[in-house]
Symmetry: C2
DNA sequence: ATTTATATATAAAAATTGCATAGATTTTAT
DNA sequence: ATAAAATCTATGCAATTTTTATATATAAAT
């Protein structure tokens, strides 16, 4: 099937997740050449010889968005020989959690946010990659509060709960959620309140600044400090 | 630094872990050519164009050992440009948990088991890969009893506890361990006892046969069944 | 006054932790 | 040959912590 004189190509693809309009969304790019011309795909690109995989993923992320200090983690490497119809392309997939407010995308029709729950036809195995990124995000959420990566710098507990509910795909009890959230290491209660349009103002919270560019591969389960 | 006409090469490397002589051990191969000639390395090889990454890892595993129905999971992809001194080699690392009794290795001096706690000088970034495989094994152990992959088909609870203690790197309370172990889904109590040399015979247990060759990437946290 | 979102407490159930003694068999001593 | 000692197996309970379930008052906008 394969001529062994062909060589592997290696790419990175980045699942960029955010919360927008009360739903989980993923950034997709419309392909403008074959294969899968016209189909949507997650942003990706070839790994350069001079960069490591994290750097390649960050570069791809920055080509599409203007973000900094982002949660970016290697997800999985997909290497099925038939995943690309014309070539042997192995892709190292990453996923990023970003604040939609932080993001400036070049707003051509060829790039845009799509609800994870309502994806268009996707190129390659990108649907599988997105689904796996959701699973990994849920796993991460069970051991540490990465959801704040999706929220504004200052957020209400209700917003945080919404983020959890969107990721976990189920409703959570408000009182229990608040109790647990308030005991989270790193959560800072501000003396500020929403003064927005709505009803009773809600207290704002923030997260202490954690250096995100440390080794994500060696992701540490936070020990509870008593 | 890099001439962009060079191309990437892609390999798989497999951390093969077992319990032997009351310690966690990893299978290493002594390199017989440059670079790192004479240093120890985890088994690996180039990914063929016709195989996917899981298949490549399994092939490498089977070249070194004669095993079947093994726990094998993709670990992480390492792609630092300088990880190989002469070439640009990206490696997709896997880890396997095997029963030492199941393994027949070609017993030349160039291949053998080494205590994870006392590794020789290793080639490339293989020390980091082994350390990360240990971390992943601990994480897996927290959500499901993969340790039985390291035990004989029939084992005592004391042996199982030893395996947990070796992986977690700490002593566990015997009574609490037994209570938890006995509530583990899939554990089967046998009507057999050790008749070995030692003192009071211990009851033997086994694990129900789980199909291990299903999608390990999409590793499922076992829900407790009540 | 009504509406709407924020905010809060408690009791029950479940899970985890810490801890001590008796039983079965082999080994050793007399 | 018998008894005593040693060694490993096996087991229960109370205290603590965590999780779960549930209902009402408060603050601001309309």
């Amino acid at each position: 099937m394969f001529n062994e004189t062909k060589t592997h190509e290696i790419t990175v693809d980045v699942v960029i997740l955010t919360i927008k309009n009360n739903s989980l969304q993923v950034l997709l790019v419309k392909r403008t050449n074959e294969p899968f011309n016209g189909k949507w795909a997650i942003p990706g690109g070839y790994v350069r010889l001079s960069e490591n995989l994290d750097e390649a993923a960050l570069r791809v992320l920055k080509e599409k968005t203007a973000v900094d200090n982002i949660y970016l983690e290697q997800l999985y490497t997909f290497g099925d020989p038939l995943r690309h119809p014309n070539a042997r392309v192995i892709t190292c997939a990453y996923f990023a959690l970003v604040r939609s407010e932080d993001i400036k995308i070049v707003s051509t029709p060829e790039i845009g946010w799509h609800k994870v729950s309502d994806l268009p036809a996707l190129a390659f195995d990108h649907k599988e990659i997105i689904q796996y990124s959701m699973k990994r995000t849920r796993e991460r959420l069970e051991i540490c509060p990465v959801a704040y990566q999706l929220l504004s710098e200052k957020f209400t507990l209700t917003e945080m709960q919404k983020a959890y509910e969107l990721i976990m795909g189920k409703k959570l009890d408000k009182r229990n959620f608040r109790k647990k959230a308030l005991s989270t290491d790193g959560l800072i209660e501000l003396e500020e309140y929403t003064k927005s349009s709505s009803k009773r103002p809600a207290r704002l919270y923030t997260f202490e600044n954690i250096e995100l560019n440390s080794k994500r591969a060696h992701f540490i389960k936070k020990e509870k400090v008593k």
